[in-house]
């Protein structure tokens, strides 16, 4: 019997994919089909693929959900562009409760990875969502490496979104709520 993937994961690079898979696998979802931009970062590719995959969900019964992960890089209009693209193709709205989840770190994923790593190790994290933690770790802290990505997703799964501390990046807080809704939607 062939392996049937129920979740399509669309992201810019391997790090995003590893982080998202860490969360999803901890929630018992292993049938994941990652689509990663072969040219590395490129938000245009992710946006186009995310919309295409939502269209595929409406055509093929095996798919349950599409999860996208896209760095905002300070551009807060990216979610809106996708909402408009979906509306233009009569593909409905963007809602994790319907299995259409878009995670948007305000700067980039490394902000979330850094905060999660500090929180897991009980280190007070001073985080803003404008600094690019990919290039510039704060206060001489060690850089985020490939080894940190999947464990960060797994750790996020253990957190309770109602008990996150105040210094948690707002989009990560929102992302955790979205991921919980998404997992519930794809499990129905």
């Amino acid at each position: 019997m062939a392996r049937v993937c129920t979740i399509i994961l669309v992201c810019e690079g391997w790090r995003d994919s590893a982080f998202a898979r860490g969360f999803l696998e901890m929630s018992g979802n292993r049938r994941i089909y990652p689509k990663v931009n072969p040219r590395g970062s490129g938000h245009g590719w992710v946006k186009a693929q995310f919309v295409n995959e939502i269209a595929n969900l409406t055509r093929f019964s095996e798919g349950r959900g599409v999860l996208g992960l896209l760095d905002e890089d300070g551009d807060s209009g990216r979610e809106n562009e996708i909402v408009i693209a979906l509306a233009a193709q009569n593909l409905g709205s963007l809602s994790a409760r319907d299995g259409r989840c878009l995670l948007l770190p305000t700067r980039n994923l490394e902000t979330w990875l850094y905060w999660l790593k500090c929180h897991q190790n009980g280190i007070p994290a001073s985080i803003d969502e404008t600094t690019d933690f990919k290039r510039q770790p704060p206060g001489g802290a060690s850089r985020i490496t490939d080894r940190d990505c999947r464990p960060a997703g797994e750790y996020l799964h253990k957190l309770d979104h109602t008990k996150l501390p105040e210094h948690c990046p707002p989009m990560l807080r929102r992302g955790l709520v979205q991921l919980r809704d998404f997992v519930e939607a794809v499990s129905r």
């Binding site: 392996r3 391997w14 072969p38 490129g42 490939d146 999947r150």
Partner: protein, 386 residues
């Protein structure tokens, strides 16, 4: 981690250098030398671990056909985190190729620029870990690696750490049609042959020496990589054991000899055991066309697991690939293109797939370009390995 391979006057390699990273994907046309890279690494491993002599591993047929010289040179660059960078060098001279005779005329091992082992056809000088005092002098065997003959001691741990790292390079060039379910009782298989025909014996060795590897492989197989799989079972049969696989069924599991399974199922089983072994030992896993024999829906999950393992530092992965899924997933970031005129030497280029090379409006994928033979824009200049 194997970071460099050099070969001169060996099959299609003439002054050939390959720089390798934690994940490397070897690509190229048929006959470009991809499998030869993996085969050579397996031979050097077998030589260094005493599993073969220079006469068996480097017969005269392995000389370049167009080269008039009778000397072959090989080098391995290996990084071990706690120790540093080793350079192993082997020089084999074919003294009477018509009679298949050769001998090792130089074998050296250097760590961070300082010698640990210096061998010629006249004498071996073995240094201690601190490279202090006079080296121990030994007599060489012209056809056997001197390093393979050194017993582990408190003062040669650097040399034996290198030998262990090389022994943990698992090279698989799978041929499920040759895989036997029979594990002869008197033959211990610590390192499987590249075609894995002796897999049953290897699994028996693992079950006794590395039980965790077998448990991890069974866990992965039962969790979905081989639908219905439940466990391995060894059944005594005369002087041997037969490897059976149990599959879920009511009222009791169904048993199949390993060689009764499909080629795809056999390949999945061997790959799971190999990945579990590589993860446990932290060595390197070298796979020649791992997508061969697998169903389309199995290929991407396998490749992503290998990519995860390599990037998360659990073990090094070196692949050869032709399959479009492998090419599109991995070649842009980790691809090395091997190029060769039919009767000339192999050359290597790092691959890159960039908007600037292709134009950002292009919808071409790496596999599209490779299928057309349009790879000139993908060859990066000599960029060091990651």
């Amino acid at each position: 981690m194997l970071v460099r391979l050099y070969a001169d006057n060996y099959r299609c390699f003439s002054s050939f250098t390959l720089e390798l990273g934690s994940l490397s994907v070897l690509l190229g046309s048929n006959g470009s030398g991809k499998s030869t890279v993996l085969g050579l690494i397996a031979r050097l491993r077998d030589f260094l671990t005493g599993r073969g002599t220079s006469l068996e591993l480097f017969p005269p047929e392995t000389l370049c056909r167009w080269d008039k010289r009778f000397e072959q040179t090989f080098e391995l660059g290996v990084k071990i985190q706690e120790q540093g960078e080793y350079v192993y060098r082997l020089l084999v001279r074919h003294e009477a190729p018509e009679r298949g005779l050769n001998k090792v005329i130089e074998e050296t091992l250097v760590l961070n620029g300082k010698p640990l082992f210096e061998g010629t056809d006249q004498e071996i000088r073995l240094h201690n870990d601190w490279q202090s005092g006079n080296p121990v002098k030994l007599l060489p065997d012209w056809h056997v690696s001197g390093i393979s003959r050194i017993n582990e001691r408190h003062d040669n741990k650097k040399l034996t750490a290198f030998r262990m790292a090389v022994a943990n390079m698992l090279v698989l060039q799978l041929n499920p049609a040759l895989v036997s379910a029979v594990a002869p009782a008197k033959k211990s298989v610590e390192i499987p042959s590249p075609d894995c025909s002796d897999f049953a014996g290897w699994l028996r060795h693992i079950s006794m020496a590395e039980a965790l590897v077998r448990q991890e492989a069974e866990k992965s197989l039962t969790q979905g990589s081989l639908p219905g799989f439940r466990a391995f079972q060894a059944v005594p049969s005369g002087d041997a054991e037969i490897l059976e696989c149990l599959f879920e069924a009511k009222p009791k599991p169904l048993k199949f000899r390993l060689d009764e399974l499909s080629y795809g199922q056999i390949a999945l089983i061997i790959l799971e055991v190999a990945m579990a072994a590589a993860a446990e030992r932290g060595g390197a896993l070298l796979l020649d066309e791992p997508s061969n024999f697998l169903g389309l829906s199995e290929i991407q999950p396998l490749l992503i697991r290998l990519q995860d393992a390599a990037l998360e530092g659990r073990y090094q992965v070196i692949l050869t690939a032709h399959h479009p899924i492998a090419v599109d997933l991995l070649a842009g970031a980790y691809g090395l293109w091997l190029d060769r005129d039919p009767t000339g030497p192999t050359r290597v280029h790092r691959m890159q797939l960039t908007d600037s090379a292709l134009g950002d409006k292009s919808t071409m994928t790496m596999s599209d370009l490779m299928a057309r033979g349009w790879v000139s824009t993908l060859k990066a200049p000599n960029v060091p390995a990651r």
